[in-house]
């Protein structure tokens, strides 16, 4: 009986994610969204609820796809350090090739919404622990395989890489210089030696 939706919900959410990612929560108005998503105001509210709810869903989509990519990078048979290098190299490529200079949505949300939004703060904390745990496990595998010396502290090193990664996505916004960034990554990854 109901009329069919004239737009693809996932497609629209993707566009909303891009806009929030680029401009942030406060600098993106519902009018901007209506214009860029190409759907009606009422449809936007009917489908996603509110600006806050839409933002939350857009951010959830980003983290979800981010985790999928993360797992895709870490190929079991490759040396662990190579996998980390790949992860950082892709971050550099993204920074260089994105004319919009969006950076990392997670980092952007951290600096914009903490303090002020406890709900998102908790999401960010969970995300941090998830990624750090993943990194730690990878380092432990590397140690077990003999690729990484057992003098390396898996916990602190995982946290260090997570932190450096966050910083990389900030500074790459300011100066997206491939060579500088790559040389820098090489220096930092020496903590795995």
């Amino acid at each position: 009986m109901p009329r069919t939706k004239q737009f693809d919900e996932k497609e629209v959410l993707n566009k909303a994610m891009e806009l929030f990612w680029e401009r942030g929560f406060h600098a993106t108005s519902m009018q901007d969204l209506v214009t860029h998503l190409g759907i009606n105001r009422a449809s936007l509210y009917d489908t996603f609820g509110s600006k806050d709810a839409l933002f939350e869903q857009a951010f959830a989509l980003y983290r979800s796809t981010g985790r999928q990519m993360l797992h895709r990078f870490f190929v079991e048979k490759h040396p662990v350090k190579d996998n980390f290098k790949k992860l950082l190299d892709v971050a550099i490529d993204e920074a260089i090739n994105d004319p919009a200079k969006k950076g990392c949505f997670v980092v952007n949300v951290t600096t914009e919404m903490v303090p002020g939004n406890d709900r998102l703060h908790q999401v960010l904390l969970e995300n941090k622990h998830y990624v750090e745990t993943f990194f730690r496990e990878q380092i432990q595998k590397g140690i077990a395989k003999g690729e990484i010396g057992n003098h390396v502290n898996p916990n602190s090193t995982a946290e260090a890489i997570f932190t450096f990664y966050s910083g990389l996505r900030v500074v790459a916004k300011v100066e997206p210089d491939v060579e500088k960034l790559q040389k820098m990554v090489r220096v930092v990854l020496s903590i795995l030696d």
Copy 2:
């Protein structure tokens, strides 16, 4: 002849800096500023011009005091690595002891205003080069004094520390855990060995 100002301009600018630093540009309204600074709306516009101009002045104040602190940390007679450690330790202390969790104003401005504000982007680029140059010079001094091995690349290592520092101030917003942060710093500073 003119009536004397009933407020200290520097004091007011400091309060404006704190508010912008904590909430960011877009989430801080002129009404918020009028309320928190304790001065009149008209006085605010008469003294600082506009919201944009006030923000720019507040951000300039932050960078100015930041540079002063930077130079104060690096005591010539101390080992260079100790000076870097002190810099990062103070960043940790600030993160732990600031209940407002403001983070770093420079990082916040980077993620909020780039892309979108070319003027601030240029300021951020200049700031990056300034700090990186300072770091590089310190590392070169360390090498000259024999404290740091000459296999260390001053340029890339300076950039790496700048990047890690930026990341530190992001993740410390999410999880201000002293011990974790300190252990992490120790790991990263091993790139100077």
